[in-house]
Symmetry: C2
Subunit: 351 residues, 2 copies
């Protein structure tokens, strides 16, 4: 057993070649094209590799090839279970193609997003997967365009391959569901710094609601501890959910927020769905727990990832060329028990 701690210099292909009494090309061949090396030589080389615990230096190989075998994954926040699972699925999927995952969390900050892309570019990742996208289109576009393939999963950017559900349609489904149940005082709640998917969800929601002659407030909230603002003015859930003109239906930009909202309602004694109906977006696993039972817009996570990684791999190996493709996956409403009809007394009060 070696003395613990010290960082011994790792063996190189030359060390192996010397020990095996061959040239380094032969060692390289043993590793990359074993069939073209004579069996006795190969065995000698493998023996040396074993003795020296040789691991090829991926940095050197990648430098030679001009790119690394990593994919950059850029994601807002791994604490959102939807994003964590998507990231995890991507990691697993790209591993099947021999790629490693490099992660960067942007925490919803555009400058961190820019830094993340820079980091990935400098590390010469083979491709980039965005799980959230904040920046104004041009900025990142200019950073990336022509340098490396990128795919947006869960956001639809016209200048790169995108795999997404129709976010607008999801927002519209949520709106229609709430309206159908009689709700009129409805609102959207989303993070202070919206990513582009959030914006589209809001758009879809607002479109349907305004068509019904209602102008929905947009609530900004970073759960669980962030302040609540409407039109830039601070307020509180107590104010929004209590009193005569209390909201009776809320569409949250994602389940993560929706579940925190349910908890806030529970704390205030606001009953869900008797007093307040809540619709989320994503359909994360815990949304299906009996105790949460969140009505939400379902996203086919595995399918999105599969399609997204496929698209990316197609670009990387040049199998796919030409204009960016937008792939839409189906979106649907999953009705559970966080939504219900507008209570009669409120319904009459509004008329």
């Amino acid at each position: 057993m070696a003395p613990a701690g010290g960082a011994r210099k790792p063996a190189t292909i030359n060390d192996v070649a010397d020990l095996a009494g061959v040239s380094k090309s032969t060692v390289s061949n043993v590793l990359r094209r074993p069939e073209m090396v004579a069996v006795p030589t190969r065995d000698r080389v493998l023996g040396a590799i074993d003795r020296l615990a040789y691991r090829p230096n991926a940095l050197a190989r990648q430098l030679r090839h001009g790119r690394s075998t990593s994919i950059g994954i850029i994601v807002r926040d791994l604490r959102n279970p939807f994003l964590a699972e998507m990231a995890s699925l991507i990691e697993r999927e790209i591993a099947r193609f021999g790629f490693a995952a490099m992660f960067c969390a942007t925490e919803g900050a555009p400058d961190r997003e820019r830094d993340a892309v820079d980091l990935m570019v400098e590390n010469r990742v083979s491709g980039l997967a965005f799980l959230s996208y904040l920046e104004r289109p041009e900025v990142i576009h200019d950073l990336i365009d022509g340098r490396l393939p990128a795919v947006f999963i869960g956001a639809d950017e016209p200048w790169a391959d995108s795999v997404t559900v129709d976010e607008r349609r999801g927002g519209a489904l949520a709106a229609r569901h709430l309206l159908d149940m009689g709700h009129r005082r409805v609102a959207f709640v989303g993070p202070c710094l919206q990513d582009r998917a959030d914006s589209l969800r809001l758009e879809g929601f607002r479109g349907v609601v305004t068509d019904a002659g209602i102008e929905p407030p947009v609530i900004r909230w970073d759960p669980p501890d962030g302040g609540v603002t409407v039109d830039g003015a601070g307020t509180s859930w107590r104010r929004l959910l209590g009193g005569e003109d209390a909201l009776s239906g809320i569409f949250a930009a994602n389940d993560f927020a929706a579940i925190d909202l349910i908890d806030a309602a529970d704390s205030l004694g606001v009953r869900v769905p008797a007093d307040l109906s809540i619709v989320g977006f994503d359909d994360i696993d815990i949304a299906g727990l009996q105790r949460i039972s969140l009505t939400t817009i379902h996203q086919p996570r595995a399918e999105l990832v599969r399609l997204g990684v496929d698209a990316l791999m197609g670009r990387i190996d040049g199998r796919v060329v030409g204009a960016p493709r937008v792939i839409l996956a189906g979106v649907s409403l999953t009705v559970r028990s966080s939504t219900g009809p507008l209570p009669a007394r409120v319904a009459s009060a509004i008329r």
Copy 2:
């Protein structure tokens, strides 16, 4: 705007040098030690960098230095919110030191763990952070020892720096809490493939329970869909939680499983805590939701990460040398409402 899609060859330091009419050493100096380059030269170089949208090739620099500026993070499963948040915290913390994060999920499979370490070693990461650890000690030890610094966060391996709560003590706290409330038919539930933290939690739990003269069953379960086995024999929650000798207290290896267990109980009409008390481990955010309100063993996530990354950085820059250190953070029981006293009728039935 460049034609979309194509992967133009990125500019190199030579291109910049040529355009600026200097040597590449000067370009390198402009980037790494700007103060030792004359201002006019520097400006010319910066101009060229800008014009060519030059990004230094990190692979080349890292090859030169013999190591990359990445840290490998090895984690069982990002769907477990505790692990996802820990991973996220690590990524943020190492970014402050200029390191990038490389992730690998092992899904609880020892061979995937070995592959992950191999991948990291080949990529010459500067250090390794384990968030879960499966393999028999020697295997990974031999793979790593002397090659690169490693830190275990949430598991205590004597051959490398470790930052962890006292897992055994956590298990013991859970056991004592259940016993104190009068429970006698208690069990442990954990994943089919335990990591080393799981084992220690079980040990601590079992120690206290057997001291009370009870031999607790060990239930293997991979929520939400996996089968339930005890001593290798398949069974079901219905059987374990119903009937005369139903369990009345369960300690789950982690909150993720505990919450799924609550859900299973809800489905079976088993009331928590009236019929069944459940203790988790980790104290993830959703454990604190009113609707979940899980009694659990609290882990100080941010502190564990801070200490762990500190330890790792110390080894990387050689500030810390010598024998592995084990750092213990405090562990405590957070009592919420998933546990309660043994119902009187059961208590009397047992006497």
